[in-house]
Amino acid sequence: MTSVGLLTASERARLVIHPAWVRVTHWINAVAMLVMIGSGWEIYNASPLFGFTFPRSITLGGWLAGALLWHFAAMWVLAVNGLIYIALGLLTGRFRRKFLPIRPGDVIADAKAALTFKLSHEDISVYNAVQRLLYVGVILAGVVIVLSGLAIWKPVQLQELTAVFGGYDAARYVHFLAMAAIVGFLVVHVLLAVIVPKSLKAMVTGR
């Protein structure tokens, strides 16, 4: 393998899989998401939408007021960091380069290959079709969870937004389902990072 020191600046830039802004926003988001999910589960428990509650051992905040304090503190981190990530993703062209195109045929073929353990992870700088779909999907889920959260938080001041989600009660379900989608993504995401450790290394060191 070529020594990085002998390469020109542009060649070195090409070796970087994740630029610093992606790594920084990724890990800030990871912490903010865990706090939002843990405290959100405790808030859910105060008035469950379905016939179950989350065990207190995996929730954050101890009781409703504590959970709300965490939730309404971490929301700023999640929202500001998320806006920076999306703005840079659009402005630098990274979203277009990395996530597009997403062709249904490719998704099906790559999903089949992944499930039979035939999917190549040789070049982790290029996302396969399943990855592209999931990353775009989780970003959209993130947008939906922030907007539905605002709709629940301010159903009078932001009543037009609340109406978009079908009213206050419906917005709570949307908020919950977006959480479920994000947690589902997280399970697969963490599992695959463990199976392909160099992807985890790249998100830390950039290479």
């Binding site: 912490v31 865990l34 706090v35 999910i37 843990g38 405790e42 808030i43 859910y44 105060a46 008035s47 207190r56 051992s57 995996i58 929730t59 954050l60 905040g61 101890g62 009781w63 409703l64 007021a65 504590g66 959970a67 709300l68 304090l69 965490w70 309404f72 503190a73 700023w76 629940i152 938080w153 301010k154 159903p155 009078v156 001041q157 009543q159 206050y168 009660d169 709570r172």
Partner: protein, 257 residues
């Protein structure tokens, strides 16, 4: 410190019983400690890196910042959505930190609403005089801090009209409510002057039943349910924030919706 007054029409035994309930629950005071030792942050860091007192101080500081953000977001001309009668939740839920049979029982004939602070006329108000004031009506959604909501129908006196009538200095920052069971609430003046903020004397056109706060509740559709005090016995206009029952335990002070 405000001295506890003997309140006409209120069962004194009940007051003492509820005063005992105001003592902070030790399990609740340590909410962060309990939450942190087993919570998601522990999984993330593998150890208890955050001193819980420092964390609680930071979280409360952010909550005060959120009060300011919400005061800024609050539009005095923005009305909470109103609903047709067919949408009223039946039965409308009873809600409190005590069971329904322990709700205050107030004798309407003896009841006198105490008014004080930065106002001109401190004469107490009987129920008959309150019923004789011009009344307004609303059918709005009550949203609980727990997440559930219910649509109710309230009739009563617009708080801004009442404040004008008692010669309140509306440049004061806060309106403070004292309730029969020891509950209390402080709200910002902007919300107090909002046209839907109502001293409710009736629910669904019937004299406010005991379970919904007889003889008077302050209905504020621009705030969460716990900022809507019931069994009101005193209203003060003042410049100091006297806090409130739940706010003092960690709920966000402004709690606007």
């Amino acid at each position: 410190m405000r001295k506890r007054r003997i309140i006409p029409g209120v069962d004194q035994k009940l007051l003492i019983k509820d005063a005992a309930k105001l003592m902070p629950d030790p399990a609740r005071r340590l909410f962060l400690r309990g939450g942190l030792s087993v919570g998601a942050l522990t999984l993330l860091t593998g150890c208890d890196i955050i001193d819980s007192d420092a964390a609680e101080g930071t979280l409360r500081a952010i909550s005060r910042f959120n009060d300011r953000v919400q005061a800024w977001m609050f539009n005095p001309n923005r009305l909470a959505p109103e609903y047709p009668e067919s949408r009223i939740t039946k039965p409308f839920p009873f809600n409190g930190y005590y069971p329904e049979d322990e709700a205050p029982e107030i004798d309407g004939k003896e009841y006198k609403l105490e008014v004080g602070g930065l106002i001109d006329n401190k004469e107490p108000w009987t129920l008959d005089r309150l019923y004789a004031l011009p009344q307004v009506s609303q059918i709005t959604r009550h949203i609980c801090v727990e997440g559930w909501s219910a649509i109710g129908s309230w009739q009563g006196v617009r708080l801004s009209d009442f404040l004008k009538r008692i010669g309140a200095d509306t440049r004061a920052k806060y309106v403070w409510f004292q309730c029969a069971e020891g509950y209390s609430n402080t709200i910002d003046m902007a919300t107090a002057l909002h046209s839907q903020t109502q001293l409710s004397l009736k629910f669904d056109n019937q004299i406010l039943p005991r379970k919904y706060g007889f003889p008077m509740k302050c209905r504020i559709p621009t705030k969460l349910g716990f900022k809507n005090p019931k069994y009101i016995t005193a209203i003060y206009v003042q410049n100091n924030d006297a806090g409130g029952y739940w706010e003092n335990q960690g709920y966000n002070w402004f709690s606007g919706s």
